[in-house]
């Protein structure tokens, strides 16, 4: 009765619903994954999502998968994983609980699935309400002519003669300590990177690849490049911490991007 059931039910539905149901069978691509499909199927029960029969839903879903197989439709792996899981859930719901088996009960699993469906539906409703609101640029408008509120930033740097002399003295005497200093030819320090970045970030209004901040001549040699990349990354994080930069990486190993926060300060 299982797979026939869905199609009988569908036969009894309005044309519109039938069209929707057919679309469901012919065009799985129209669904955003198994949960979306389950949500659509659950509507055929015509009850509040809180009173949904998960057992019935599992039957509907499994008949759908059966039917898809008959029609030799390629189902994406996640649909099959869901089918497997629902088959398991169905057996948990139908069979008396096995005391030797650990883990959540069939009812707990069913309740969570019902919760997920209800939550997804709630988010869809919320999205629809949000998009139904008055929107800027469509229903209400900002000032059409920005008269330009300006922010003029003047930075004055302070340094006195003592700073200057000490700085010079520091350089002229540092070679005394030469034996203790590691060879830094191929090392770009975080301090240097930080100094470099501070001077440059003011011009970064839009997202910019972090690698574009590497100093000239540090791109080719892999050792130098590695050091410069690490230092620039550490310096970027420091600037993020100081609230001067934003940083983002959209995916693993994707380019790390930076953007200045200066203007919003």
């Amino acid at each position: 009765m299982t797979e026939q059931n869905l199609f009988h039910e569908i036969a009894a539905q309005s044309v519109e619903e039938r069209l929707a149901a057919e679309a469901l069978i012919v065009d799985v691509d129209g669904y955003e994954g198994p949960l979306d499909l389950l949500l659509t199927l659950s509507r055929t029960q015509k009850v509040d999502l809180r009173r949904i029969s998960v057992l019935e839903l599992a039957r509907q879903y499994l008949s759908f998968v059966e039917r898809a197989k008959e029609l030799r439709l390629e189902l994406a792996a996640d649909y099959l994983v869901m089918a497997a899981w629902l088959a398991y859930l169905k057996s948990r719901l139908l069979l008396p609980p096995d005391p030797s088996e650990d883990g959540p009960s069939g009812e707990e699993l069913a309740a969570h699935l019902a919760f997920q469906l209800e939550r997804l539906q709630a988010m869809r409703d919320a999205a629809a309400r949000l998009m139904g609101r008055d929107q800027r640029g469509r229903n209400f408008f900002a000032r059409g002519q920005n008269e330009g509120i300006q922010r003029i930033r003047t930075v004055t740097y302070s340094a006195n003669l003592l700073d200057l002399m000490q700085g010079y003295a520091r350089i002229r005497t540092k070679d005394d300590f030469r034996p203790f200093v590691m060879d830094r030819d191929s090392v770009f320090t975080m301090e240097e990177a930080l100094e470099r970045m501070r001077a440059l970030i003011g011009f970064t209004g839009s997202w910019t690849d972090m690698l574009s901040y590497l100093p000239d001549g540090w791109h080719k040699d892999p050792v130098k490049r590695r050091s410069a990349t690490a230092a620039t990354f550490a310096a970027s994080l420091q600037l993020v911490k100081e609230g001067r930069l934003e940083i983002r990486q959209s995916d693993n190993f994707a380019p790390i991007q930076l953007r200045s926060l200066e203007e919003e300060q």
């Binding site: 198994p34 939550r119 919320a126 999205a127 800027r136 209400f140």
Partner: protein, 223 residues
């Protein structure tokens, strides 16, 4: 109607206990009006305070101004921590010329946006758990680019995943004073639908890694 602005600005100090007396409130209101009017983007009280003469109370001035514009063709609205002037929504029909065609957002983008707004701060894995499918990079990128969402603080859980939150630009676009004013937020919270309820045991939803061996277990699909 009002006192002459020049008079107000240049009038001799009244009997005051301070040499640097703040301008009268009516004058402060004018100042706030001019700044909010001139700026197409919301202006924070802090920014207002920085622009106005010492001792001004921009918060009070904004409140006066907001009342003054009640029922007018232009309104003073709050956007997060800032204030802005916007045309009254019921007059949108006059503004056909000004309407900017915005890029049509995909259903996935709209749902992702709603989930971020209602569940913020929320991780990508949580968005995927709620939607039951993986979130494409393009969707997040698009929302980031529109500046409707931004990165929030990292979640203090293993892997320290980044979270997403909505921005003042989002609030401004949808005419919201704060994310707390999202429609139906209270009801959703009361219904427990904004909880991050972990699945009992493990579920196949939103855990795309598990799809890897979906094909290796064909016997599971037979009943």
């Amino acid at each position: 109607m009002e006192q002459d602005p020049k008079m107000a600005t240049h009038s001799a100090p009244r009997e005051s206990d301070s040499l640097f007396d703040a301008p009268p409130m009516a004058e402060q209101e004018r100042m706030v009006e001019a700044v909010l009017f001139a700026s197409s983007e919301p202006v924070t009280l802090r920014d207002l305070e920085g622009r106005m003469p010492h001792g001004c109370n921009p918060g009070e001035a904004v409140e006066h101004l907001r009342k003054r514009y009640e029922g007018r063709g232009v309104r003073v609205v709050r956007v997060g921590e800032a204030w802005a002037m916007r045309t009254a929504p019921d007059l949108g029909f006059l503004m056909q010329k000004e309407i900017v065609e915005t890029r049509k957002l995909s259903r996935a983008a709209i749902e992702t946006l709603a989930i971020i707004a209602y569940h913020q701060p929320v991780t990508r894995a949580e968005i995927e758990e709620i939607r039951g499918v993986s979130v494409s990079r393009g969707t997040i990128d698009q929302l980031l680019e529109m500046e409707w969402i931004r990165l929030g603080r990292r979640r203090m859980t293993p892997g320290r995943p980044v979270t997403f939150v909505v921005t003042p630009v989002f609030l401004d676009h949808f005419g919201l004073e704060s994310a707390r004013d999202l429609p139906g937020l209270k009801e959703l919270r009361a219904a427990g639908l904004l909880e991050n309820r972990p699945p009992p045991g493990s579920l196949p939803l939103g855990q795309s890694e598990e799809d890897e061996d979906g094909g290796a277990q064909p016997e599971l699909f037979e009943e």
